[in-house]
Amino acid sequence: MTDLTLSAAGPVTPVHSVLRRFITLALVHGVLIAGAIFMLAPFIWMLVTSIKPPAEIFSAEISLWPKQFYGVQNYLFALEKAPLLRFALNGLVLCLGILTVQLLVAIPCAYALAKLNFPGRNALFVLVLLGLCIPVQVPAMPLYIALAQLGLLNTYFSMMVPFFLSVFAIFLFRQFFRSFPDDIINAARLDGMSEFEIVWWIVTPSAWPAIAAFSVFSAVAHWNDLYWPLIVISDAKLAPPPLGMMFFADAETGSNYGALTAAATILTAPLVIAFLIARRRFIDGITMTGVK
């Protein structure tokens, strides 16, 4: 009886709708999985190749697992041929150095732009906004000439200096500081705190999410940057990961794909592992800096 009324009531029976939902679900996951394979293929192939012996690499058949485990030899060869760990260390020094100066410079400036009245404030803000549109490739040549004249090429300093000022950080932090309540700042002033202390002890801790987000953004950008190091660094000992990888690929390793992929794995691993651990922070950080 109930069945009868059910089927008579409408064109779509539950069986149909369940089937339809199942088909859409399968279709959606089908598309997403196909995309995921495209995204992951290079990573998987990199890891697989890095543990294959040359004979298997150069054989025509495609296999996702080596018959003979050759990982140790590949990784040792890569580490022996090039100072890969040194490249990673350079990357770390570069990122930390840049980030430290960026924060030390940008935070007080953002605070002044957001909360203090001083002559030239609006002009400075306009300059910051204009600076947002200028990629590092634009001032690169004059900076290179200046560094060459000063004899500073091939130093950590030369690699970092164009990035010491992040107009983006100033812009981001200013937006954040503007929503910080004036009352708290005034209360701190009444309690006898200096502006310097207010910035670093009151306002900065409250901007922690923005600072974390920017730090992730900055680290990812400079760990992976090739253009500027390629210009100012010719000494392999100072090369950050991308430049190191380039040197390594250029050297006699040529088509030793086992060693190449081993090196690529070593140089990609630090950021990818950091990403997998602090997944949410990375995604939120990069999104936040993207959306503004």
Binding site: P42, M46, N117, L124, Y257, T261, T268, L271, V291
Partner: protein, 307 residues
């Protein structure tokens, strides 16, 4: 009377002092940033402008004022023209692929509950990875005889394609790698936009008869995602226009100039051949494009694409 008068008179210097302190601290806080702004952006820009009007060559001793000759030469130079066309072609492939692909994936991922974070991680992975290292892997993947991609093609009965050494496919191949690199970033931006759309609207639409996915997308998702789409579009254009890494590592402009792009040519002229004056002029052409893209964004966002 005297009392009433003396109070503001006594107050004024304090207020003035307070204002004065605020100005000094403000200036002090902004100073380091301003100095760096001057040294790393403004001054270099001025120098660059001056250089672009000379025939200076780095390391050389003499130089002459040439006016706009560098710009004229650049616009007439077939190599620069070709690299500009190649760059725009690259942008024209990466932008639709990277934006529409990301939009589609974001819409599909957004409704998943349990698998959402897994897909997010997978699609975002290339954004954090070192492109130069991955470029080497791509090179191997696409290798005409050893690469698995051609292996699959052969298995399917197609002739192998030398993706990176064939002039007709090299640029498109780089564009696919470019899409691979930035699609996850765009997806995350779209997901943020989708999350901001109230659930209520979809429910109201459901009751109003927008039952199919197409209707829901056209009635709610697409119009309300307008500002996000505009932003993603412009950032993708700028990122794509700055293509350099993959060209420098994988093709070096070849084969037969089919992947020569603007930034790579600037790099060659400025830092390999040391035609400094000429490279400065090219840099301004590069900057002009970037500024146009940024202006489009500012204009569009001011107009408030949504409502």
């Amino acid at each position: 009377m005297t009392l009433a008068l003396s109070a503001p008179a006594g107050f004024a210097p304090v207020a003035r002092r307070r204002l004065w302190i605020e100005r000094i601290t403000g200036l002090g806080f902004a100073l380091p940033a301003f100095v760096l702004l001057l040294l790393t952006i403004l001054l270099p820009l001025a120098v660059l402008l001056w250089l672009s009007l000379t025939n200076y060559e780095f390391g050389g001793v003499d130089m002459d004022w040439v006016g706009f000759a560098n710009f004229g030469k650049a616009l007439a130079d077939p190599i620069i023209r070709r690299s500009l066309v190649n760059t725009l072609l690259y942008v024209a492939i990466v932008v639709p692929g990277g934006v529409l692909g990301a939009l589609m994936i974001a819409v599909l991922v957004h409704r998943r509950t349990r698998s959402r974070s897994l897909y997010e991680v997978i699609y975002f992975l290339p954004v954090t990875s070192t492109l130069i290292a991955m470029a080497t892997v791509w090179q191997f993947l696409l290798h005409p005889s050893l690469g698995p991609v051609n292996g699959v093609l052969k298995w399917l009965g197609f002739a192998p394609v030398a993706f990176l050494s064939e002039p007709s496919t090299a640029l498109a191949t780089l564009a696919v790698i470019g899409i691979w690199q930035l699609i996850g970033f765009n997806m995350i931006l779209f997901l943020a936009g989708l999350t901001a759309i109230p659930r209520d609207l979809y429910e109201a639409a459901d009751i109003d008869g927008c039952s199919s996915g197409i209707d829901r997308f056209l009635t709610i998702t697409w119009p309300l995602l307008g500002p996000t789409t505009m932003f993603v579009l412009v950032t993708t254009m700028i990122t794509a226009f700055k293509i350099f890494d993959t060209v420098a590592v994988m093709t070096r402009g070849g084969p037969v100039g089919s992947t020569e792009v603007l930034l790579y040519n600037i790099y060659l002229e400025g830092f390999q051949y040391f035609h400094t004056g000429y490279a400065a002029a090219l840099t301004f052409i590069f900057l002009a494009f970037i500024l146009v893209f940024s202006a489009v964004q500012t204009f569009a966002l001011d107009r408030k694409v949504h409502y």
